[in-house]
Structure formats: structure tokens, C-alpha cells
Amino acid sequence: MNTALPTTRADHRVAWLAALAITIHIMESALPSPLPGVKPGLANVVTIVVLCRYGWASAAWVSGLRVLAGSLLVGTFLSPTFVLSLSGAFCALLVLAPAAWMARWAPRWAPGPIGLSVLAAWAHMAGQFWVAYALFVPHEGLFHLLPILLTVSLVFGVASGAVADVVIKRLEAASA
């Protein structure tokens, strides 16, 4: 009896890219952070590249698999860290959907990798923040951290967007 699930090329591509994102995610989690609660989010470079090249659905798969498998490997599955990570990724994808559709319907005003990365970074931070406030620390004082965290995530968003931009251009050159 053949029990193998039929897989498509796209499935394999998602799996490879998710593996790459998970690797970056884990390497990054070993780095010390300048501010508690902030990290560069380098794994999002992969998400942005996938979004620009293969579309939103692939990006959602890669991002979701990264959160799930990354948490299993780091050992944070179902912990508060996981909940925050998941809510951040969810909000980022939510915001990226209309932004990515703009590439098709209003290409003149569509954000490129840098804009997408900044949008994702802010949505990620805002989503995490809201969940942190709603579930873990329902205290007004938490909001004093918001402006600083968003400033840092703007910088990191631009940085990883610039990296994604370079990667996308190289990939286009290589496949042309």
C-alpha cells in the first residue's frame, strides 16, 4: 500500500524555505539582545523574500512553520514566548496581505521589500504588544515601552528589508 502523500514542487519549496527560516530563527535566539523583547527578526528576511517571489500564501506557510517548528526546537512551544511569537507572526501576515495585493492592483504605490519589512515589523510588534497587555501584563505602564520598541523595530525592519531587497535582486539575476 502506498502511504506517501503526493507533494508538489511548491510544497518542497515551502519546506526548504521554512527550514532556512527556522535555522536563522534559532541562531538568532542564541544571540544576546540589546533590549529585552527586541531581536532583529532576521528570519523575516526569508518571509519577505518568499512573499515577493512566491506570494502571500507561501509566505504564510513559511512563517507559520517557522513559529511552530522553531518553538519546538528552542523549547518554547505553548509557552508565553510562543504565544507572543505566534501573535506577532499572525498580525504581520494580516498586514502583509493587503500590502502584497497592492503589488498587483496598484503597483505604482505598492511598497517594495523595505516597506513590506517595516510594515511586518510594526504589525509584529503591535500584535505582540496587544497580546502581552491582554494576557500577561494588563498594566498601563507597559505602554511606556511601546514607542522605544517601535523605534527599534523600525530600524530593524529597514535593515532586514534592505537585506531582503538584495537577496531578491540576486535571485532575479540568477534566474534570469
Binding site: 500590502a99 497592492m102 505604482r108 504605490w109 505598492a110 511598497p111 517594495g112 523595505i114 516597506g115 517595516v118 510594515l119 510594526w122 501584563v137 498594566h139 498601563e140 505602564g141 507597559l142 505602554f143 511606556h144 515601552l145 511601546l146 514607542p147 522605544i148 517601535l150 523605534t151 523600525l154 529597514v158 528589508g161
Partner: protein
């Protein structure tokens, strides 16, 4: 950089000052101070009004001054004078104690999360 990128970045850069104004910085400047004698609250006073208070502790009178949104021990009947040397306190969560006289000052931030320190160890 596409036109959309500039739109996103401009909106973010414009939003940040608004957020800083709305939410302030962590450990923002305190607005009130609480003066304790022993375990009891002696007074809770706004830092906006300049005044000098004479607070009776277990050794004698501690003189406490409030000026320019700050608070300090002006003089103390104690030996070490550490409370006086601590100088001014103004940020939420800052705390000065005159242990011998059992008088302490704590600046209240806007809630515990607005405090400058989340914990202090001695």
C-alpha cells in the same frame, strides 16, 4: 526604494513622535511622592508644588524639600546622613530612605510599570 516604501517610512517616522508624546518614556518623571514613617504612610504629596516639610521620625525631625518636581532630604537627625547625600529623586520608582529615622520617600510613577526600576536589591 519604491514610492510605497517612502509612504510607509514617512508614516512610521511621523507616528513615532506622536507615540512618544502619548506614552512617554519608561520610568517617566514622577508626579507624586509618598513619605513613609515606619510602616505607615505619613503623606502623599504632589511634586509640582515647592514646599519644605518637617517629618517626625523616631530620632527626630527629617526636613524634606520638594522643588522643581523633585524631592530630597534637606536635613536629618541621623548619624550617617546617607539620606541627605542621596540627593534629589524625581523618576517614578526612585526611593530614598533614612533608615535610622525610619523616614522614607518614594516617587510614584504613573503606575508600577511607569517606575524607573522594576526591582531594587541591596
Amino acid at each position: 526604494m519604491t514610492r510605497g516604501d517612502y509612504v510607509v517610512l514617512t508614516l512610521c517616522v511621523l507616528a513615532l513622535p506622536a507615540l512618544f508624546v502619548r506614552y512617554g518614556l519608561p520610568g517617566s518623571v514622577g508626579t507624586q511622592a509618598r513619605i513613609n514613617v515606619g510602616n505607615a504612610i505619613y503623606a502623599q504629596v504632589p511634586l509640582s508644588r515647592a514646599r519644605v516639610m518637617r517629618v517626625p521620625g523616631s530620632l527626630g525631625i527629617s526636613e524634606i524639600e520638594i522643588r522643581d518636581g523633585q524631592i530630597r532630604f534637606n536635613s536629618s537627625p541621623c548619624q550617617g546622613q546617607q539620606c541627605v547625600h542621596s540627593g534629589w529623586a524625581k523618576r517614578g520608582g526612585e526611593f530614598i530612605a533614612c533608615v535610622p529615622n525610619r523616614v522614607s520617600l518614594s516617587v510614584l510613577g504613573q503606575g508600577a510599570g511607569g517606575d524607573y526600576y522594576d526591582s531594587i536589591n541591596f
